[in-house]
Amino acid sequence: MNRRKFITNAGKAAASMVAAPYLLPSGRLFAASGSRVANHVIFVLFAGGIRNQESVKQQYLANQGLPTQGNVMPNMLAGAPPTQNLVYNPWNPVLSQPLSQQGTLFSELRYSQGPTGHYNGHTVAMTGNYTETGLNLNVNPEFPTLFEYYRKHSDPAKSALNAWWLSEGLGPYPSLNYSRHIEYGPQYGANYLRPATTFGNLGDNFLKEALNYQPDDVQRLHKLTHFLNSNFDRSGMDAGGVINNEEDRQRVKAFITGILNGTIPFEWPTPTGTQQGVSGDLLNIGAAWKVLEAFQPELMVINTFNLDICHSNFTGYIDFLHKADYGIGWLWNKIQGPEGAALGLKDDTILICMPEHGRNMQPNQLRDQNQLAAYDHTSDQNSREVFSLIVGPPGKVKQGQVVGNTSNPVGESIDIVPTIAHILGFKDDIPGGLLPGRALTEAFA
């Protein structure tokens, strides 16, 4: 190489070093380019399979041969409650204004493809991709979850303490905090809890006495394990599960033991503030508030699930629907109240609710104690009809707007992930081809 060529090449190399983008720790080349609508998103998978008939259409018992209609979800929807043939114990709304008036209601959203199973419904909502997998297997999904998109494509990179998934039950749901996608996976996953177990009898028996070590001992432990691991070729990451850094892990540990030993008082989302009338869904919602209070995550997904009792008990379904509605109202009240303001959540949080799927138009053969017919969900058209509610402060979310109707449905289940990516400002950084849905931008001011 002659001198002239060397100088030219060296100059080009130097120029490219200055001009070229830096590779960020998150694996991206550039910082997130989109601006945020809000800094916190709570996605409630209002699950268990909810028919639009009993929710947004407010038909109550009209499909049971009784001429009684009315709104059993007074915290989420505007409308008068039923006044006769009450098969549930009505609780006074916790909100003075229903959430549909504090946001935008997509009244006819569609779950367009694949079997309407619970695992499918959850997976579709949390990955933004339809799935044909019909089994409720405890297996990480094929496509990345919204947690992974969020953590990988946010800048600066977000720790797992910023992303939480809380489920009412176990079954296949613990596996939804990250996918088996080769480009994503546990390093971008969310913290997961099933509060009924962690904070229930099992946690009480086996976790309550777990020691919260002093920083000196944490340091010693770190030193020892570092030495032991340095003498072993394989990685503990292969064991699966999301991995918090040491500091965050100790914070989560202190949180769990704090709830178990009562130093972090648990609040019951019921009218009396006690366990009276509490359901598994309300326990999950109460735990969600505690996580928000402790960590102020930017992204949280929780589900309700007790409504699945509708397979055999329509009365129970109505009761749980009413209670889950109360819980959502209670949670929003906390976020928008003084406690939420102190935590920086007020007016900076967007709440999204959507059932994972609906239920059949035709009932099955079972009747409950009130002789009301039960409903399954076997992928008929009715079980593909759901709603979504996007709630947020004025200026961020359009208030009191209803989008779509039966003859003109707007939105799909796969649209929630891109919508959340839009809110948190990383939608444009997600590689093409991964998300077939669109952001429901009609909801935003």
């Binding site: 405890n138 797992a160 998934w165 176990l170 613990p174 905090n177 996953g189 969310a190 913290n191 997961y192 809890l193 099933r194 509060p195 009924a196 177990t197 962690t198 099992l202 946690g203 028996n205 086996f206 976790l207 309550k208 006495e209 777990a210 020691l211 070590y213 000196d216 001992d217 010693r220 432990l221 030193k223 020892l224 394990t225 030495f227 032991l228 691991n229 003498n231 072993f232 070729d233 394989r234 990685s235 503990g236 292969d238 064991a239 699966g240 599960g241 999301v242 991995i243 918090n244 892990r249 989560v252 540990k253 769990i256 033991t257």
Partner: protein, 171 residues
């Protein structure tokens, strides 16, 4: 009777007697009554032999046996497995379960004085107890040094570090 004939007759009589009264001893072993005791031995000559990840059930069973020196009941095993499922950070779940166990009086935990009286034996025993192998010379030396140089290093912390280490996840 000549002596030889007498002796022959006695021998035949003796053989006939032995043949007619042969005792048959049958030893029955009832396996349910056999008591197996935990006897910690080295299984691995090197940690390179550990290439399979323990399942959650295996991890809990082995952990329990290593700490309490007795087998876990199936009911407790199922409950702990469910508890582990309920926490997404499996390392955290393990840490919490182990530290909770370490508070249990049933855990065979040497005192700090015992550990410091013979650090070399403690290190050796700990490697065998949790890793089912002897430490290498380097491991034995370095681990002993860490204990020796730090008065705050307790047997519980050492045990915990072994049970939280990557090697303990494998067999």
């Amino acid at each position: 009777m000549p002596a030889s004939k007498y002796l022959t007759g006695c021998l035949i009589a003796l053989l006939a007697f032995l043949a007619s009264c042969q005792e048959t001893v049958i030893q029955e072993t009832v396996h349910d009554n056999v008591i197996y005791e935990v006897d910690t031995v080295s299984i691995y000559t090197s940690n390179v032999e550990k290439d399979k990840l323990k399942s959650s059930i295996q991890f809990i069973s082995i952990l329990y046996a290593d700490l309490f020196k007795q087998a876990i009941t199936s009911a407790t095993l199922a409950r702990l497995d469910e508890l582990k499922l309920s926490i997404g950070d499996k390392g955290l779940a393990n840490e919490m379960i182990i530290t909770d166990f370490l508070q249990d009086a049933g855990v065979e935990l040497p005192s700090d004085a015992d550990m410091r009286n013979d650090i070399a034996s403690f290190v050796n025993d700990t490697y065998i107890r949790f890793y089912a192998r002897q430490p290498t010379e380097y491991e034995a030396y370095y681990m002993a040094s860490m204990i020796e140089q730090d008065p705050g290093m307790t047997p519980a912390l050492v045990y915990l570090s072994f049970m939280l280490s990557d090697e303990y996840l494998y067999y």
